[in-house]
């Protein structure tokens, strides 16, 4: 399953809801959820812990817009729009945590 997150993990509960529910799979961080991929935030440790169970991707154009592309947590995989499409196409199902 591909879990798509678009809300800031620092202000909204969707991120924690996803981590609580999701079986091992893939997480794609887009829009304001890209802040979850930044080093040094108060949620970074939770993201790193989640990386033991999930493959974590971040949409690079959204990370660049928010000026955090140069501080991604090690092991988070940046993807472009083409990579986003590939992730959707290669997973059986998607859940958007709106």
């Amino acid at each position: 399953m591909l879990h798509i997150l678009n809300k800031s993990p620092l202000e909204r509960p969707a991120f924690d809801a996803c981590l609580r529910i999701a079986e091992p799979g893939s997480l794609l961080l887009i829009e304001d959820a890209v802040y979850a991929a930044a080093r040094g935030t108060e949620v970074a440790a939770r993201v790193q812990a989640a990386m033991g169970r999930h493959k974590v991707y971040v949409l690079l154009p959204d990370a660049e817009a928010r000026a955090i592309a140069d501080r991604l947590i090690d092991g988070v995989t940046p993807v472009g729009y083409d990579g986003f499409v590939d992730l959707v196409a290669t997973h059986n199902n998607c859940q958007s945590w709106l």
Binding site: L10, E31, Y35, R39, E42, A44, L60, A65, R66
Partner: protein, 123 residues
């Protein structure tokens, strides 16, 4: 505008840029307010501090990068920019990561400043 009472206006910015339109809308209203010679303060709380993060590159999302506008506020005599220290700490940010000079205050200090305002506008 005729000579009138100068009121204390505070713009409260609590959202990250680009994900929603709040940050840009706030900036537009701030610029309008500059025309009325009021005592304007901007505060950045929580995810609002991301609005001031240096190095925003919006080409790939095909959205206007409005972050340089914060540097232009000084030219409109809007010089009171306050940033919540707790919000910076929670995001691993330091003052050097911000695009403009700001005054960093604690949450409690910002709360006191809010009490002193005549008008508070929330974004």
């Amino acid at each position: 505008m005729s000579e009138g009472t100068i009121k204390k206006f505070m713009f409260v910015n609590r959202t990250a840029p680009y994900g929603t339109v709040y940050a840009l809308e706030s900036l537009e209203v701030v610029l309008i307010s500059a025309a009325f010679d009021q005592d304007v303060s901007l505060v950045f709380l929580g995810d609002g501090v991301w609005q001031l993060k240096k190095g925003q590159q919006t080409k790939a999302i095909e959205t206007k990068n409005f972050s340089p506008t914060y540097r232009a506020l000084e030219g409109y005599d809007i010089e009171k920019l306050y940033v919540e220290r707790e919000a910076l700490d929670a995001r691993g940010l330091a003052e050097e990561d911000l695009i403009v000079d700001v005054t960093v205050l604690s949450s409690a200090e910002i709360g006191k400043l809010m009490e002193e305002q005549d008008v508070v506008l929330s974004f």
